[in-house]
Every structure is written in structure tokens, then in C-alpha cells.
């Protein structure tokens, strides 16, 4: 995973609540067996104009098709961002499009986990703070995120603090791999399974036994 220390970029306000992963990437856009090539399907329901089911071009009313947001890298949103389907394709599509961080009031939990595991920083801030960042972004200004200091600042504004579990902060700052971290506990895992197999042998039956 790439290291994340700090980032500055144009923030796009999509301040509605409950932007679900079906909206972020509809199932028809995720017919792939790889993580790449998904950015074209990002927000495709709103991002394109359609005739029936056929895309006929970009939808000029959609914010990502408007200057300066086509060069955005930070998304501002409301409550419960990324709720619904567990599809990690939503995170892969956002990251491939160029997003480095999301700033929202709250998240769907599976999305939050998926984002962290792909180096897409999910930041939680209050409604007023997000509104303040959104106001500054409309002046073609940038938002700056400092992961070491756990701060976000809009153009010229004072830094706003946010919280993130220390271990997630460490993972991202160092670009560590979550699986590598877990496998450091291989001995404990082996011990656990050995004891557990005695306690719950019925849980170790399987189709291949």
C-alpha cells in the first residue's frame, strides 16, 4: 500500500446523505476480475447522459463534469457515505479516478474498512466543518490534509482536527500491509486454532473432509 502523509487538492462538495455504493458504482459497471478500469463507471448513473440504457455523453449538470472539479482529489459528503453493498469496486473506482480522501459526517462501515485498505483516507468531520470546507472550495481553492497532525484546512482557514484510530494512522503513514501485520501473529493464530479445535470440533468439519 502507498504511504499517505499529507495531501492538498480540490475538494468536490457532494453533500447529500446516504450516497450508497450502488450510486458510486452500479453493478453493471463492475464486470471485471481486476481492480483496474473501474474509474469510467464512477457515479455513472449521474455522470453521463443516457438514451434509454445507452450512454450518449457527459452530463454537464453533474459536478465532476464541471470546472474545476474535474481535477478533484477530495470528496466532501454528508452522513452514511458508502452505505449498502460491500463492493470494494466503489473504493477502487474512486481511487483510480484520482480521489485521495473522503471527508464525510459518517460512513457505511464496510466502505470505511475498504477505503483504509486501499490508502483512500476516510475522514470524519462535523456538518458545519464540512460546510465550511465546501464554501472555501467553491473559490477554486484547495483543501489540505495532514495525516501526521490529523488536521484538515480549507483555503486560509485554521486547521480542523479529526480523529482516526492510531493503528489506522500508523498503517497509512507507513504504507503497511494489513495481512502482513496479521501474519506477525501466526503463532497465536496456530495456538488459538489448536485449542479451539478441541473445544469446538464440530466447527472444523468441511466439505472436503
Amino acid at each position: 500500500m502507498n504511504k499517505f502523509t499529507s495531501h492538498s487538492g480540490i475538494a468536490t462538495p457532494m453533500l447529500g446523505d446516504n450516497i450508497d455504493t450502488d450510486q458510486i458504482i452500479p453493478s453493471r459497471e463492475m464486470k471485471r476480475v481486476s481492480k483496474v478500469g473501474l474509474a469510467d463507471g464512477l457515479f455513472s448513473g449521474q455522470r453521463y447522459l443516457y438514451e434509454g440504457n445507452q450512454k450518449i455523453g457527459a452530463n454537464p449538470d453533474f459536478i465532476l463534469n464541471q470546472a474545476p472539479y474535474e481535477n478533484t482529489s477530495i470528496l466532501l459528503s454528508g452522513k452514511n457515505f458508502g452505505c449498502g453493498s460491500s463492493r470494494e469496486h466503489a473504493v477502487w473506482a474512486l481511487a483510480e479516478y484520482g480521489f485521495k480522501a473522503i471527508i464525510a459526517q459518517s460512513y457505511g462501515e464496510i466502505f470505511f474498512n475498504n477505503a483504509l485498505r486501499n490508502g483512500l483516507l476516510p475522514i470524519v468531520l462535523g456538518e458545519a466543518e464540512i460546510a465550511q470546507l465546501a464554501a472555501s472550495s467553491s473559490d477554486l481553492t484547495t483543501v489540505t490534509i495532514n495525516l501526521r497532525e490529523l488536521t484538515v484546512s480549507g483555503n486560509g482557514g485554521s486547521p480542523i482536527s479529526f480523529q482516526l484510530e492510531t493503528y489506522y494512522q500508523e498503517m497509512l503513514l507507513n504504507g503497511w500491509d494489513f495481512i502482513d501485520l496479521a501474519l506477525q501473529f501466526t503463532d497465536q493464530l496456530d495456538d488459538f486454532a489448536k485449542q479451539d479445535r478441541k473445544k469446538r470440533p464440530w466447527a472444523y468439519l468441511s466439505a472436503t473432509d
Binding site: G45, N53, E165, T166, F192
Partner: protein
């Protein structure tokens, strides 16, 4: 100290816990399907990692398999959508390469993962279960801690048999009263989500409790737990009882003989202690509750079948207005005035034998209205399909004008050819009515199988209690 059911399962799967609250949780069973697993297997290959416990994984294709019986006849080779074919054959290849058991597209046990797992006894009480699918919460009906995860975590479980997590809070949803005649588990869970809201259970594991839950079949309990995620919960749970034991006993992968007795003694402890403390509580009385139907674009936008589309007022004014525009509905409009274009009976929420029986009960001797473009019934697995055919249910449905399909996720997520056309209204027994979920600009109404079947007959929403 008194424990909740969630506390007990958590404690018995805790490998290690750090001072900051982060923990490694041991996973008993992972279910795999063709859409969220290929990138996980690819990750294993790139990092040159092996599968930690091969027998802890079980796979079947479901999300993108065709449900047209003709298209299914020749298996993978017959799949006309080339990308779907690649996904299904990639699952085949990966399971073969990593020696993981798969019920493939030809296997009569193939089906929606959340129907197949319980049916085979791969889902057992007290287990921790994961799948790269948010509706994994379904398996909580068995007093199992079942969680939907993303593909990175699928890879994590393949490689280490554990997940990095923090413990959630406990939420008790207590249901008092009994469901009336013609009112089902689906109506109950829609009502619960309507009250909790789509983020009402965020950060919690829900335990569904009370007389109405105890009186539900395992199929009904699965329907309720299935939609726990729609309230934002990490998982949903129902305590173990005789109903659970009777369902599990004799399943192919369930223990038998002495192991059964040993398991049963353990499973009898799978309930919250009488004095267990929950962080959050919610109570609902379902006495006199009518069938429920969703009117909007979020599973919390639910009203009774005899209700109306709400007025755009209060804190959710903008959301209601936007949903009315998308759904082409007017505030104050009666639900029974909504005319349907398509009917979908299926999905991990409602594609089990009990659901097909109710649909057939409504359809028997009646005809799908001529105004309905398509009414499809998609059984949850090859075994549900076979049983429904044996019981004569499939014939009743076909005689009434329903299409009888091959098992898969189908129109629930519209990944294959089963989808709505722009602007169409659908009475659907699935779990999500998000914008575009069932097809670009499609309009979904979430209902029970009885309400969906009755709507197919009437051509518009109608109180299904008049039909059963």
C-alpha cells in the same frame, strides 16, 4: 459478568486484543462468489501467499450467473455475457488452483451464497462467518456472527483466517406482539428499518428478540437478519433455540452422532444472559401491523400498504423530495395506486422454499395482470428449485403467468440480463431500493413475496392479506 450473545461469540473467537481495542477475530467459515473474490485470489498470487485453512472456505457462483433456464443448460460455455462468463470461469479456476470446494454452475447445490450456506449446514450456530457480500448478516439467524466484508478482507481471511476488527456495541431490537395473518418476516424487518433508519444501527450488532422472532421459522429469521445491514448494523443475530436445532440437524455439513451432542450442548449457551446490558435498545409492537412497502430510494422509506407517500417536511425534507422525483410519485399518493411494470420474487432476502410457497398460494388459480411486462420467480438455489417443482409450486406459478427461473441473485442487483428498463416500477422481494439498483433509472419497491405476488395479479399494489 452477564454477556450478550454477541459478547459470547466475540470472546470465543478472540485471538488477540491490543490495548487500543484492535483485535484479531478468528473466522470459522468464509463463503466465496464470482464477483468479489477474483481480486482477492489475485492478491494472494501476487504476494505468493497460501490459503491458511482451505476447509474454512466454500464457493458458489451467484451474482452474475444467467437465470434463463435455456442459457443455463450448457453451463459456463452457454453464458452469453462474456464478462460474466469470465467471472464464473475465474471462480472455477481459482477454486481448482487453491483446492477450495465449490458448488459450480452445474451443481444442484449451487445458489445464492446466503441460501446455500444454511441449506448445506456450512452455516452453524456459534460460528464466525464472512463473505464478500453485505447481506452475509443473513446467517446471524443461526446465532452466528456473520459479517459482510470487502475484497481486501476476503484476501485477508484467505491468507490468515482472521480479521482485524474492533468490537461493536450491542443493540437489542425487542419485538412485542404477534404478526397477523398474511403479515410476514419481510414486513417486520421493513418496519424495523423504517423506524431505525439506514444508519440507526451503525457501529452496532443487532440482536432481534421477542415473541414475534421466536415464532418465526428459520427462513423468516434469515429474512430479518438479512436486512440488518440496511439499518447500518455490522451484523444481526437471533438466539439459538429448538427451531434452529431442528433446521440444522441432518444438513450435509452439520455434525452428527457424538459431535452433534457436543455441539448442541455448546449451542444451548448461545443466547444473551437475562441480565445482559445492551448499549442501545429499540422496541416495536407489531400487533395490528399491516404489510409494509417501500415508496422511496432508501430502505428506511417505508409505509404500510394502506398508507400514502409522505409529505416533504421535517429534517428529511430534501431526501423525500428527491426520492419523489426519482420515483415519479406525489406526496399523499396512495401506495395502492402505484401501478407496476415488473415483479421480482427472489434474492437472498426472499428466495427460500417458504417464500416460494407463499407466492404460489397467492398465485394459485389466478393470472398475472396483462399490464405487467414481466413477473419472475428466481429460486435461491438448485435445491429450492427442485423442491418447489416437486411440491407443484413452480407449475402453479407458471400457470398464473410467472416466469420460473434458474437460481441466482438476478434482478436484486441487476448485474446480469435481469433488470428494469428506465422508469419502470418493480415490486421486488429484494433488499435495496437505491437509485439504479435494479437497472438505470429503475424504480424499486421492497415488499414481501405475498405482496409482490398479489401486486402481479392486481397490476398495482394491493393488501395481500385479501389473497392468503
Amino acid at each position: 459478568m452477564a454477556q450478550t450473545l454477541y459478547d459470547k461469540i466475540w470472546q470465543d473467537h478472540l485471538v488477540t486484543e491490543q490495548e487500543d481495542g484492535s483485535a484479531l477475530l478468528y473466522i470459522d467459515q468464509q463463503l466465496l462468489h464470482e464477483v468479489t473474490s477474483p481480486q482477492a485470489f489475485e492478491g494472494l498470487r501476487l504476494a505468493d501467499r497460501s490459503v491458511w485453512r482451505i476447509a474454512g472456505n466454500l464457493a458458489t457462483p451467484d451474482h452474475n450467473v444467467p437465470t434463463d433456464p435455456k442459457e443455463r443448460e450448457t453451463g459456463i460455455a452457454g453464458i452469453t455475457d462474456l464478462i460474466a462468463r469470465t467471472q464464473v470461469s475465474t471462480l472455477d479456476d481459482n477454486c481448482r488452483a487453491f483446492n477450495i470446494e465449490q458448488y459450480d454452475i452445474h451443481d444442484k447445490r449451487q445458489g445464492i451464497v446466503h441460501v446455500m450456506g444454511p441449506e448445506q449446514g456450512a452455516t452453524l450456530p456459534g460460528m464466525t462467518i464472512v463473505c464478500g457480500d453485505s447481506h452475509t448478516s443473513t446467517h446471524g439467524a443461526f446465532a452466528a456472527l456473520a459479517q459482510g466484508i470487502g475484497t481486501s478482507e476476503v484476501e485477508h481471511v484467505l491468507a490468515s483466517q482472521c480479521l482485524l476488527q474492533r468490537k461493536t456495541k450491542n443493540l437489542a431490537v425487542r419485538i412485542s406482539g404477534e404478526l397477523g395473518h398474511g403479515v410476514y418476516a419481510k414486513d417486520l424487518v421493513l418496519k424495523i428499518i423504517g423506524e431505525l433508519g439506514t444508519a440507526g444501527a451503525t457501529g452496532h450488532t443487532i440482536e432481534f428478540m421477542g415473541e414475534a422472532i421466536r415464532n418465526l421459522s428459520m427462513e423468516g429469521r434469515m429474512t430479518v437478519c438479512n436486512m440488518a445491514i440496511e439499518a447500518g448494523a455490522r451484523a444481526g443475530l437471533v438466539a439459538f433455540d429448538d427451531v434452529t436445532a431442528a433446521y440444522v440437524k441432518g444438513r450435509p455439513l452439520a455434525p452428527s452422532g457424538e459431535l452433534w451432542d457436543q455441539a448442541l450442548a455448546y449451542w444451548r449457551t448461545l443466547h444473551s444472559d437475562a441480565d445482559a446490558v445492551f448499549d442501545t435498545q429499540h422496541s416495536i409492537d407489531v400487533t395490528n401491523m399491516a404489510p409494509q412497502v417501500s415508496w422511496g430510494t432508501s430502505p428506511e422509506m417505508v409505509v404500510a400498504i394502506d398508507g400514502v407517500v409522505p409529505e416533504p417536511v421535517g429534517a428529511k425534507e430534501e431526501g423525500i423530495r428527491n426520492a419523489c422525483t426519482y420515483m415519479d410519485l406525489q406526496p399523499g399518493q396512495k401506495m395502492t395506486s402505484i401501478e407496476l411494470d415488473r415483479i421480482f420474487i427472489g434474492s437472498c432476502t426472499n428466495a427460500r422454499i417458504e417464500d416460494i410457497r407463499v407466492a404460489a398460494q397467492v398465485a394459485k388459480g389466478r393470472k398475472v395482470a396483462s399490464s405487467i411486462t414481466q413477473a419472475m420467480v428466481v429460486p435461491g438455489s438448485g435445491l429450492v428449485k427442485a423442491q418447489a417443482e416437486e411440491e407443484g409450486l413452480a407449475q402453479i406459478l407458471v400457470d398464473a403467468g410467472f416466469e420460473w427461473r434458474a437460481p441466482g441473485c438476478s434482478m436484486c442487483l441487476a448485474m446480469n440480463a435481469d433488470k428494469l428498463q428506465p422508469g419502470e416500477h418493480c415490486a421486488s422481494t429484494s433488499n435495496r431500493n437505491f437509485e439504479g439498483r435494479q437497472g438505470h433509472n429503475g424504480r424499486t419497491h421492497l415488499v414481501s413475496p405475498a405482496t409482490a405476488a398479489a401486486a402481479a395479479i392486481a397490476g398495482h399494489f394491493v393488501d395481500s392479506r385479501e389473497f392468503v
